[in-house]
């Protein structure tokens, strides 16, 4: 199921779904339900924007998809694999196929840029290889990092200190890290929230372009409706933990 090549092909079952969420409930304590009966289907290579105000549950939804938030009930299937019951190694294996780009500053500042980029490969590396890479990176590993950085237009920052790069460059490095992961699903949690309008457009165009190029399914939460309309196949609105309006993929209905 998780073979590098096959996961981009439609599974043999005939389903075109990359992500299928059914009646998902997540709560932080007895009273506070964050997600209330969320159902959402996202097709392969589809780019879906999730709009919603702060506190609507967007981040929690993403956390539930890669297992950081536990689901109380309902199901989440990523490429046909049920993830809500996974733990330990099985969960790590699923996570290694899901790229994440977030609004938060989540690079390790004291590492070099190429080290942060190659952190995307940690899911398929042993701890020994990770240790060896930190002190003695192999030539092909450096080439892989350079290639990923080239795709986001930052090849010249390969050996730079991460603490010295700007906010926009930071997001590009985070995207490069996600690319190294070779994900089947890319989760972008308000990737442009802390950027100015011009940079926001640039980063979104890059993200969506790369997703289309690699035929990766993209789920991206946003605040700005106009950006969502411009760059995404479909918009889903999340309000107070519920999906507003229809959640069925028009993309799938059209049979594309």
């Amino acid at each position: 199921m998780w073979g590098r090549q096959s996961c981009l092909q439609p599974p043999s079952g005939g389903s075109l779904c990359m992500l299928e969420i059914r009646d998902l409930n997540v709560r932080y304590d007895k009273r506070n339900h964050v997600l209330k009966g969320v159902s959402l289907t996202v097709g392969q290579s589809e780019r879906v924007a999730i709009l919603g105000s702060s506190g609507a549950g967007k981040t929690t939804l993403f956390h539930a998809i890669n297992g950081f938030a536990k689901a109380d009930s309902g199901s989440i299937q990523v490429n046909g694999v049920e993830v809500t019951q996974l733990a330990g190694r099985a969960l790590r294996r699923v996570r290694s196929h899901i790229g994440v780009v977030s609004q938060r500053h989540d690079l390790v500042d004291s590492l070099a840029v190429y080290q942060n980029v190659m952190a995307g490969a940690l899911g398929r590396w042993s701890a020994w290889r990770a240790l060896r890479f930190l002190f003695w990176p192999a030539k092909e590993e450096m080439e892989e990092a350079a290639a990923a950085l080239r795709r986001v237009g930052l090849e010249h920052k390969l050996r730079a200190r991460t603490s010295g790069i700007s906010g926009g460059e930071h997001q590009r490095v985070a995207i490069a890290r996600a690319l190294v992961q070779q994900p089947v699903l890319l989760l972008a949690d308000e990737p442009v929230a802390s950027l100015d309008p011009k940079l926001s457009e640039q980063i979104l165009a890059l993200l969506c372009g790369l997703a289309a190029e690699s035929r990766v399914t993209l789920l991206c939460s946003l605040h700005q409706p106009h950006l969502a309309e411009r760059y995404f196949d479909r918009i889903v609105e999340l309000q107070d933990g519920r999906i507003a309006g229809g959640a069925v993929s028009t993309f799938l209905q059209q049979g594309i």
């Binding site: 969960l91 996570r95 989540d106 390790v108 398929r124 590396w125 042993s126 701890a127 890290r177």
Partner: protein, 464 residues
């Protein structure tokens, strides 16, 4: 009054310090031993502490239990550990090194674990989201995120290990501490004062060194060859493990005879008397001294000499104060109370002064602006603002002094420490082990009570 006269008489015996080139040459060996113990102990502690810290911080299985074990071990005072180690591996630097290695492994392990656990969650979560193993997350996230802190804590701990290695020497761990006790026992006070000066000098040098190296924490690397050499030099004693285990076996199970059990409430009482008395007198002395030492309240010609005086008081460890005072006013809790009071005055005086300096100026000015007299300004603004930090510092010092009270007992100041030391000297190993366990229980209980009390105080502040 008589006591004071006796102290003055004794102080006179310490002057002038003994001075000869031959003696200084001879002193190089114990000085070297003291640094050797500290370096060897810290070397082991850094390795063990780093591994356990990563283990706990990365959330590997059993981490919570290891964390609890580290916290528990840290509550055994270093001197208590040293007495234990002297029994197990014999008198000499190896015992001191082993004691320091155990004590600082626990301390460093817990600090590193705390550092890793409190690392910035965002990068760590981003790494976890890639499906990386916990060890890889530690390598790519926790370590680089915390490297700077790890290096500076490492050096700080080396500094405090040098101080501690003087203390463990006092019970037969070798180095300056052993020399110091030797001169006091031989009533050779002029050599004692030379040694105290040497001790102050060594600590000041390390202080200075760490100050210079603060911006170059990587310099901690010098500890590696130093520590390895120290460890290698003491390996024969470390290798005598079968003998050590047999001796350890003799300590189990811990046991107290009936008369010792009857004496326990008295011992506990004495230990607390020393701790509370020492803290109380230190507080009385430190309040005016702290006012005089604070740069915003006193002119420089007052604050600077007072600061130096406070530094000198706290440069001499409690145990050394204890040794001097026991020979001045005889054995008993009174010497212990005064020993703790002298050292704690130095520590509290400086902390109080810092608290006074950090008082926000705006509320004080606002009261002064009403035209209130100085005393009213003090009563309505200064004192209420200073009260909370002073209370917190005093409470912390009381906690520390309970630990110290179990230690000064060793040199005849009474309490549980004295009972522990007597049991060791008489080879009553099971009894000794029982006192080690009891000391540990006292320290853990007081730590918990103090944490609870601080929590309550915070709660009150939050409500107000």
């Amino acid at each position: 009054m008589e006591t004071l006269l006796r102290i003055f008489h004794l102080i006179a015996l310490f002057f002038p310090p003994y001075w000869s080139l031959h003696y200084f040459n001879a002193l190089l060996v114990p000085i070297g031993q003291t640094i050797e113990m500290a370096a060897g102990g810290i070397f082991v502690a850094l390795i063990v502490g780093m591994l356990t810290g990563i283990w706990v911080g990365a959330g590997l299985p059993g981490g919570r239990w290891i964390y609890r074990l580290l916290s528990a071990f840290r509550s055994i005072p270093d001197l208590t550990l040293a007495i234990f180690c002297v029994v197990v591996v014999g008198i000499g630097p190896a015992a001191g090194m082993l004691a320091l290695a155990i004590f600082y492994s626990a301390a460093i392990g817990k600090i590193f674990a705390d550092l890793f656990l409190s690392a910035d969650r965002n990068p760590v979560d981003a790494l976890r989201a890639t499906g990386a193993t916990r060890l890889s997350v530690a390598l790519f996230g926790l370590l680089p995120l915390r490297m700077q802190d790890i290096l500076s804590y490492g050096f700080y701990e080396f500094e405090s290990a040098v101080r501690a290695s003087v203390i463990v020497g006092a019970v037969g761990g070798g180095g300056i501490g052993t020399e110091l006790v030797g001169t006091i026992n031989a009533l050779d006070y002029r050599r004692t004062s030379t040694l105290i000066l040497v001790l102050i000098l060594v600590i000041a040098l390390i202080d200075k060194l760490s100050h210079i190296l603060k911006n170059k924490p990587i310099a901690i690397g010098i500890l590696l060859p130093l520590g390895l050499a120290a460890f290698w030099a003491n390996r024969p004693a470390m290798l005598a493990i079968p003998h050590a285990l047999t001796t350890f076996g003799k300590m189990l199970p811990p046991q107290l005879p009936a008369d010792a059990i009857r004496a326990l409430p008295g011992l506990f009482g004495e230990t607390f008397e020393i701790a509370v008395g020492g803290t109380f007198f230190a507080m009385l002395a430190a309040l005016p001294l702290g006012l005089l030492a604070s740069r915003n309240l006193s002119p420089a010609f007052v604050s600077i000499p007072v600061r130096r005086f406070l530094e000198a008081l706290r440069a001499i460890p409690e145990i050394v104060w204890g040794l001097i005072l026991v020979s001045a006013i005889g054995i008993g809790p009174r010497a212990g109370v005064m020993a703790l009071a002298f050292h704690a005055t130095g520590a509290l005086g400086r902390l109080y002064a810092e608290s006074f300096e950090n008082i926000p100026t705006a509320p004080v000015r606002a009261i002064a602006a009403t035209g209130a007299p100085r005393l009213a300004v003090a009563g309505f603004a200064f004192v209420p603002l200073a009260l909370a930090p002073v209370a917190v510092h005093t409470l912390f010092r009381l906690e520390w002094n309970v630990r110290a009270a179990t230690i000064v007992g060793v040199i005849g100041a009474g309490g549980i420490g004295q009972a522990l030391f007597n049991a060791q000297q008489l080879f009553f190993y099971r009894q000794m082990m029982a006192y080690v366990v009891l000391t540990w229980l006292i320290v853990v209980a007081v730590d918990q009570a103090s944490a609870l009390l601080r929590g309550k105080l915070n709660l009150m502040e939050a409500k107000a």
